[in-house]
């Protein structure tokens, strides 16, 4: 399961609307609860899409941005637990390109479909396996934490493959 605050969830989707008709991309920082099998996102970092040659259907995050995000995370006691990108006018499902270029085993890959400039479905896929031979993408539930005024979690809205 991927756990994320409603603010980060909405910010991720808004990013895809802003960059439409190009793909957006970003990095998810947080913690992995190995026992529960959850990736808990506590911060999202926007990244620039370096694929300016084909930004409508490709994305690539510069390693320098990854390193900076990893360092930012380290200083806050957080790890990179996933990534997000958008699919302009294309379903929120991973593509063969997404799969071939996924190498962060254990991380969550979140995809938001952006239809005509509006964010539609958002889905998360966990990269399972431990190497290139055994890796696979597995759909996972997204639990959106609804934060109360005092920052306490007052309820959890569970989303799986639903269009909002």
């Amino acid at each position: 399961m991927l756990e994320i605050s409603v603010a980060d969830y909405e910010a991720m989707r808004a990013h895809g609307e802003e960059t439409y008709p190009h793909e957006c991309c970003g990095i998810l920082l947080g913690r992995t609860d190995v026992a529960a099998g959850n990736n808990e996102v506590t911060r999202i970092v926007r990244a620039g899409n370096t694929r300016t040659d084909s930004a409508h259907n490709r994305y690539h995050i510069a390693p320098e941005e990854l390193i900076a995000a990893q360092r930012e995370g380290r200083e806050a006691g957080l790890d990179i637990v996933g990534f997000y990108h958008s699919h302009p006018d294309h379903p929120a499902q991973w593509s063969a390109t997404d799969f071939a270029e996924a190498h962060w085993y254990g991380c969550s890959y979140v995809i938001t479909a952006v239809e005509g400039g509006r964010a539609a479905a958002t889905n998360s896929f966990r990269l399972t396996g431990a190497d290139e031979e055994t890796k696979g993408f597995k759909g996972e539930e997204i639990a959106i934490d609804v934060l109360g005024a005092d920052g306490e979690v007052t309820g959890v809205l569970e989303m799986e493959g639903k269009t909002r």
Partner: protein
């Protein structure tokens, strides 16, 4: 010197985010790392010993691929290496 390990490869370093090695070059550091964590070798290198195309190694702020001496670049104890697999994809192939 310190080598930072990305989350997907920490399963081979007992969960450690950074590994301390003693080496005088980038190659020496990677060799020392894979000697202490042998499982890492096939994740970082192809069978003929080349760094995998999706694995980026940075010496401080620089991509080792673009350094004049590449893996043979001399290092000191205060240098830091960062191993960072690439992040890319896209919807291109499914249209």
């Amino acid at each position: 010197m310190k080598i930072h390990i990305p989350t997907p490869l920490r399963q081979f370093t007992h969960g450690q985010e950074a590994v301390e090695v003693s080496a005088s070059s980038v190659q020496g550091a990677l060799d020392a790392l894979t000697l202490s964590a042998p499982e890492l070798r096939r994740h970082l290198f192809t069978e003929d010993g080349k760094l995998r195309s999706f694995v980026n190694v940075y010496l401080n702020e620089d991509d080792v691929r673009y350094l004049p001496a590449k893996e043979l670049t001399v290092t000191t104890d205060v240098d830091e290496l960062t191993i960072i697999p690439s992040i890319a994809g896209g919807s291109s192939c499914c249209r």
